[in-house]
Amino acid sequence: MKRNAVYMSAWLLIAGFAFSKGAAAQDTIKVGVLHSLSGTMAISETTLKDTVLMMIDAQNKKGGVMGKKLEAVVVDPASNWPLFAEKAAQLLEKDKVAVTFGCWTSVSRKSVLPVFEKDDGLLFYPVQYEGEESSKNVIYTGAAPNQQAIPAVDYLMKEVGVKRWVLEGTDYVYPRTTNKILEAYLLGKGVAPADISINYTPFGYSDWQARVAAIKKFGSAGKKTAVVSTINGDANVPFYKELGNQKISAEDIPVVAFSVGEEELSGVDTKPLVGELAAWNYFESINTPANKAFINQWHAFIKNPKRTTNDPMEATYIGFNLWVKTVEKIKSTDPEKVIAALPGMETPNLTGGTAKVLPNHHITKPVYIGEVKADGQFNVVWKSAGEVPGDAWSDFLPGSKNIEADWVTLKCGNYNTVTKKCSGQNYK
């Protein structure tokens, strides 16, 4: 049913776009924006489209890049994964964009990956994800598992004293991979298999009563228990509501979420969520001059002082600034040259640190753990000492322990340090 609706709207949109050919002036640099503006992911992705437009607008007011104005080419892949690939091909082959900012879900990224690799494009991907990937043509400005999930579990283990773990997720690739990494990590730390419970529920699940009762039961074995939640999107609200109704407070069984941020909380009655945890690399409540300026800029651009900022927006901000800096340094927008020059580039992030592009195409990010406050913002209760470098291939999975990504010296995204072979997403 849902799928039908998505396809339908997708076709309507394709029809719509046939009419909207942008008249391209010669002296502009084209920037592709590949975010869903309709369908289920529109809620999250529209914000990122607006962020890119805001950054382009601000850059043009400063005189553009290398004396040329930036021109946004916005396409709508409509939350339809195959359409992401089509739209990416359109951006790269027809519009010949210099750089693309886009994608949210991992499945959409996997869908456009072959297109970017074939046409040698450049994609900035701004969302936390499950890792196990490093493409020559993608810069991952969101968190890898070692920049979000692992530190969060470490925090619970060391600071809260958690001994028993419920890994609760929505049934798709990001939770499954993340939970596989976390399970391996926890077992490696000496947690008994009986003290780990892994469970998956479908997208948009709302009948949480039995699951929450099971969590309550699992958590009443006399050991401190925590829930690590990779529950996605809509399903979170009824989940937290049910926790509240069954009187499981954050003090008894804390829930740490990797997909719940300011934006997700803005449409929610936050009363039952107070004290629940989230792990991100940015919170709107972090008080730095750069963040204040960013929030003001956002409110002025979107003309709504109530809109929140969030972690993927900061990742978009970092990615955009990294690209501008690199282009201005090498005086070229040729994606191949920009990609070669990106590793080692640095730009300040919004929380007072520095984001540096690593040879594996991930960046350095600080990690923050926040507790939900009654106003829907987060109260930072823990932060990492300095920035954590993103690790493309998890060290905790047997399959990827020996894999390394290095686009500077090895020129390879999947290099096996034992067999000394480069496979998968390799590069000449």
Partner: protein, 549 residues
Amino acid sequence: MKRLPTGGQWLTMLLLALVGVVPGRAQSPKDAAFLSTLGELREASYSDKATIAERLGQSGHPSVRAVLTALLDSRLYYRNSDQKIFIVKSADADPLSLIDPLSLKSAGSAAASDMTQIGTNNGLRSVLRMTVAHYSLSSPDASVRTDAVREMSRSLDEPAVALLRQRLGVETNSGVRKEIATALALAALEGPDGKARLDAIATLKSSVDQDVRNRLALLLGKNGDGSFVESDENVRKAAAGAVATIDHWRTFYSGFETLFFGLSLGSVLVLIAVGLAITFGVMGVINMAHGELMMLGAYTTYVVQSAMPDHIGISIVVAIPAAFIVAGLVGVLMERTIIRFLYGRPLETLLATFGVSLILQQTVRSIFSANNRSVVTPDWMSGSLRLNDALDITWNRLYIIIFTMIVFSLILLVLKRTRIGLDIRAVSQNRAMARAMGIRTQWVDAMTFGLGSGVAGVAGVALSQLTNVGPNLGQSYIIDSFMVVVFGGVGNLWGSLIGGMSMGMVNELLEPYAGAVLAKIFVLIALILFIQARPRGLFPQKGRAAEDR
């Protein structure tokens, strides 16, 4: 967060007399010390704040309880200009009304931007809750006392046990007495006297609390060197017996709980299907926009709530008739403008109503934006009813079961006992004959469709309490509602009731073993097989009406 009622000064005095400290006069050195300790909270880390709170607790100052309760409720602030600490009446207000932490008298007000909140985290809050519990033991509210005893039984040190003993002497409420007896028995398990430990186990045996069970189970364990934790074999035997008894009862209650879950999921299924049972079952119209009519009901709840933000409690009750009218009118409009031209052409009806569903979704998106709207759960619907230590029943599910039963009975009443109901049944059984008898069949069609749509709107009000109110709300329930109607037997309301309830029950029984995804798949497969064997559902319609379809 729980708000503890601000107790009278005499309570604090009583407690202080108990601990053996006499409160000093205002602005004494004690006040100064208290204030300076309080001042440390401004800069301290969370773990330091916990030790500061403990030191405050030991200071014996008369304001300790008020200050710590305020800190627990995030109502402790300091003024940015002079760094002075104040309690505020409510953290939501702006300007904040200030209370002096020493005299507990009003101290004017200040703009929220001039004040900084002293933050807490989970760890600190549980320390505070424990400390405040010691003071709440003398609260006039029995439920506050019960919670206080529970809180204290988590860590029973000597002062806590002494306080509990003291309280047991004056406590009149039997529930609280039982809690205290359990807590004291738990403390006695630690004692050196084997006889006392046996008595304690006898007391604890009647409990069904998981914490008590875990504590008893600890006695059966072995130390690192292989010796038993509990040296006395009789005590060990008694403990093993008690654990078995508690486990037995907990299994029983968890079975009961699963039954309740099944009933509540079944009620939701019946509620979303019963409107469809009228439009699809009685009229034979395949209405793909049924889910969107529920969505309209949910959005009506949101609008009603936004219109009366100060009366959230009754807004839900107001929303029920409002949602019925809104969804019913939309239903009548649909019937008059589209569906009546398509009677007897199910495929065209299906496509047309699917189109309507997309239009309704986009309309809602244009008016309310694509984001989910937040519908607040009123206080009387949140939380749970505690039947005993092993069984909590959540209020919202309980209300929805009751609500479904009321809606279902009302529909039956309308169909069986009213004039319009008679007309509806007549038209659905034999249209030509009904028209010949002078029934305005077109009008009856519109009313029937309006009734079914209105009931869908009412279901939307209930769904707004269970799931997200967004443009896609309808899509996630439409398939379930068709399944229930087809399973129960098209055209049979009782079939929908039995069908929905049994599907809910089977789903909840399977879920603990198979997981949510597989349970749903099993139910679907079972349904397919069932429809293969009995294409007309559980309770097929008999007679002429069935032949016409």
